[in-house]
Symmetry: C2
Subunit: 204 residues, 2 copies
DNA sequence: GTCTATAAATAGATAGAC
DNA sequence: GTCTATCTATTTATAGAC
């Protein structure tokens, strides 16, 4: 309380958050394969040693990125859902496939990293909680979309929706669409993902 | 013609093919991120310089792997399809989603590498041809599945099917399912992918 | 066509100064 | 909490011997 602007080493008081943000920028432009702690450090303008004061190793930095991605994704889902009339729960659910495609295209992080096996092994509680919360949110939307019926139906609808959203998002990222239909954009693919979810039928 | 068993350097006459096979083995066990020319060379038991007599660089080796993956995948699709009665073209198409999931799980290579942007830039004719042939095969099966109707319907069915197959395959690889339902295996996921394709409806 | 040897890049991670 | 410096490991790729 004495000093609201605490003295920082050289030019950062917020390195942890800045490294996470720089990591998103790297993931958005390149593969996870090309991501490195060193690049994130350079992007922020600190030495390559500095990140290790904030993250035990590369995987712990990635886990923090993954946890934030799960939180951001949940927030975007809530925001996009809120723009659809409450009396159309099926549509509220469907459009989140588009939300996912757009988010992954913009931030470069999605289910692949949020639920990745190596990161899961770290037993990071923040990541596990954020991932669970994201899936619970989507499951609730799936349930509302069906408006009753067996619980397994909601789970199956969620699975097919998730698979469609992730399939579109990863094929887009890998260049599958750009080589086949050069005019496809993030927006058109997101719309097609939402439409695919919209037309899903289960249990009938 | 003088010597049917041509003299080879030390112990290989078939290094190119062996490197491709070793690359598949690496991809099956680990990420593309962890793949390296050096590892493939060591797996085969040659020096790390030898691969460069057969492939200009890492990407050209991967392109050869991708081209072979497209060929193998097409062969498996044909084989699996042949086991389904000809009078059920819808089923013949649907089961290829399972074929894809099983192939990617076993070999570690699929659409992500066959159509990957960096490899596409190499303008490798073999890869381009194999990729096109694979998609043409699937498109023909999609057309048969619909048994007539607008050509756009077959394209949309193919897209949704491809997205489902790839979505299941990549989520399986990344560990999404094992963390959620530990009892899921390649076989159960492949069956769910086929079922998802089976229930796709377009243009109606 | 394979080898040995090596160059040049890059990354992960740690030690110790400030 | 950040820096400089450093160690170790790995990889990609090339040169030149055999």
């Amino acid at each position: 309380m004495a000093n609201p602007t605490p003295r920082r080493g050289y030019h950062h008081g917020n390195l942890r958050a800045e490294l996470i943000e720089a990591s998103f920028a790297l993931l958005a432009k390149h593969d996870l394969a090309e991501f490195s702690v060193a690049k994130a450090a350079r992007a922020v303008g600190v030495s390559t040693a500095s990140p290790y004061r904030h993250f035990a190793d590369r995987d712990h930095l990635l886990a923090a990125v993954a946890a934030q991605a799960a939180l951001e994704l949940a927030a975007r889902v809530r925001a996009d859902v809120a723009a659809v009339p409450e009396d159309d729960p099926r549509e509220r659910f469907a459009i989140t496939a588009g939300t996912y495609v757009r988010y992954v295209a913009e931030r470069g992080a999605g289910f692949s990293i949020i639920f990745s096996t190596p990161l899961a092994r770290l037993d990071d509680a923040e990541l596990a909680d954020a991932g669970r919360a994201l899936m619970r949110l989507l499951l609730d939307l799936a349930r509302d979309a069906l408006g009753g019926g067996p619980p397994e139906d909601a789970l199956l609808l969620l699975e097919r929706h998730t698979v469609a959203a992730h399939g579109y998002a990863t094929l887009l990222r890998d260049g599958f669409f750009s080589s086949r239909r050069p005019k496809d954009t993030v927006g058109t693919i997101a719309a097609r993902a939402a439409q695919a979810s919209r037309e899903l039928r289960v249990g009938g």
